[in-house]
Amino acid sequence: MGRPNTGKSSLYNRVTGGSARVGNFPGITVDVLEATVELEGSKGALRVVDLPGLYSFDSELDADTDEGAARAFIEREQRDNAPFAVLQVLDATQLSLSLRLTKELLGQASRVALVLTQSDVLASEGRTCDVAALSKAVGVEVIAVSSREASTRDAVIALAQRVLDGPARELSAGTFDPEQVARAVLSDTATVDEQQRKRREFTERLDRWLLHRTLGPALFVLTMVLLFGAVFLVAEPASGAMDATTKWLGAKLSPRLGGGYLASFVTDGIIGGAGTVLAFLPQIVVLTIALELLDASGYLARGVFLIDRLLRVFGLGGKAFVPLLTAHACAVPAIRATRILRDPRERLVTLLVLPLMTCSARLPTYSLLISTFFAHRGALFQATVFVSLFAAGVLSGAVASAVLRKTVVRGRPLPLVLEMPAYRAPEPAFVRKATARGVRNFLSDVGTTIVAASAVLWVLLNVPMPGAAVDPSLQNAPAAVVRVNRSVAASFGRALEPVTRFAGFDWRINVGLVGSFGARELMVGTLGVIHGLEDVGDDPTPLRAQLRAARTADGRPRYDTRTALSLMVFFIFACQCMSTVAALRRETRSWRWPLFVLAYTYVVAFVAAAIVYNVAGWFSR
């Protein structure tokens, strides 16, 4: 354990050989990495755990945040009398700050030793740290290492074993003065300021540009636009490739399963659902890599610095920016990303508004509606509608946050205090591992829910409603269309029609909305099925033509621009995503908040859609 940015993870990688996995610890939801290290001479094995960075044991912390998890872990192991040793990692170049934490740690854990990192940096500056004097002053064993040297692994493991085998100390916080000790044990302290100043020069030069009062925000916006561009650049080909793969797999499997109901269930319900999840993966990979690079380089903290004031207007803080940005790819990893927020109220509000951000799953529906009903307006108009939809997501999140902060989640926000680490080159191994972790989390969080939603939707669309009559106008229609018409989903859709017609939604759109209740990416496919079209995911052209050509009994167009606007507004607000609901349940440990999100987003979505539909009606008269 140790303060953030002390080289803890580099040391951990050196000791474990990078074989870390996310541990499963009761009561701790935050990712805590653990690995097993075999001891030489078959002396058994050590379980090595990398705790999230922690500044202090004394300040009040929510156990669901990264810092809170580190503290809760140590407290629990100590309480359970587990055979465990705490190795605190100290940055030799910021010794007095690390020693403040040591003082508190000595009152929390009975088997403690200190590992001094960056000793190579100290040495390169012609300085040394008197390890023996430090050990004497603090009262526990201390070693100095460099994470770059291979011998570090054995030194740290041997230290852990000595501490585990040695006597347990009485729990009592240290009585030493961290600054005095730091001054006493570091040689050549007179030049510390000079040396540190030299190392800071690079960061200062960059900050002069990147945190410039006008240039800084502009560069930050540019970085975010590039990041978005990269995410969307991979979105289109990825979903195309995934559609092709699932279609190919379906065609291979369908004959083997007899081509009937079972084949349809497996290929459309299960494989189709899995394909939807995998189509998002490339975006998640790009976003995770980009965010890890920004974080590890030190720039993300600068972004938080620049955007904090703006987010305060809406009752959030600068750190909420990271989950809000992530939610533009997918709300589910964004929900995990809220763990960096120390303020429990800010974290809750962020969780409650994340589903309003325009995630990629909304894009196929937006794209279908824009290309169907605004094609005659030209490319620039269509692009403007698209950008407006994104802006509407951000704006609705901002308004919702401001309202929630004044009503449901009241209270003074914790002010921002954020470490601004020096710029440094990110380590590729970290970025690789963080990305792998992001992908694993995404698949486990989203995968099962979407596949389940897709399977349930298949059942609703294919199982006939008992007693449902077939529409006489469908006598010559294809069997698939007749089947959908008699299905449970169609009965739901018709039952909802008296209410939803205020927003311009007929039963067919309602079936789409029922289908996309579990996962909004299923909307376009469901609309296709209702109109007797397969695989509209590959090519929505026939669906566009059908939507435009559809007529009501009295010959008027069934859908028009008003319907499109109304449906888009519904999609801006409604939390049509069971993966999000499940993730909210996990993070808030209650059903209260996920149900609140479902209720408020659906009510707002429907009311807003009805208003837009009716107001647009006045203009079109």
Partner: protein, 86 residues
């Protein structure tokens, strides 16, 4: 040697100040001290974010922080003057 008492929120950029007292609640104080913002520490304001945003400060014990302006108003400081030549 000291000159004047004020809060960090009003400190001039690039001027060394020393923290003389922290005023805050039980949530804020341990957290500030753990970060390195404690009595006796020298601090320098490097810059302020636009539109009344946070302050970018450097702490003598090492490390740089973004600190909310309202919170900086709870950190009482005095100007550090050094004898010429050091």
């Amino acid at each position: 040697m000291t000159e004047s008492h004020a809060t960090l929120a009003h400190a001039e950029p690039m001027v060394d100040v020393r923290i003389v007292a922290l005023h805050g609640d039980r949530h804020e104080l341990p957290w500030l001290r753990a970060l390195g913002l404690y009595e006796g520490q020298e601090v320098k304001v490097l810059r302020r974010a636009p539109f009344g945003g946070p302050m970018h400060v450097r702490v003598g014990a090492g490390g740089e922080f973004a600190v909310d302006v309202a919170l900086a108003g709870h950190i009482e400081v005095e100007t550090v003057t050094r004898p010429v030549g050091t």
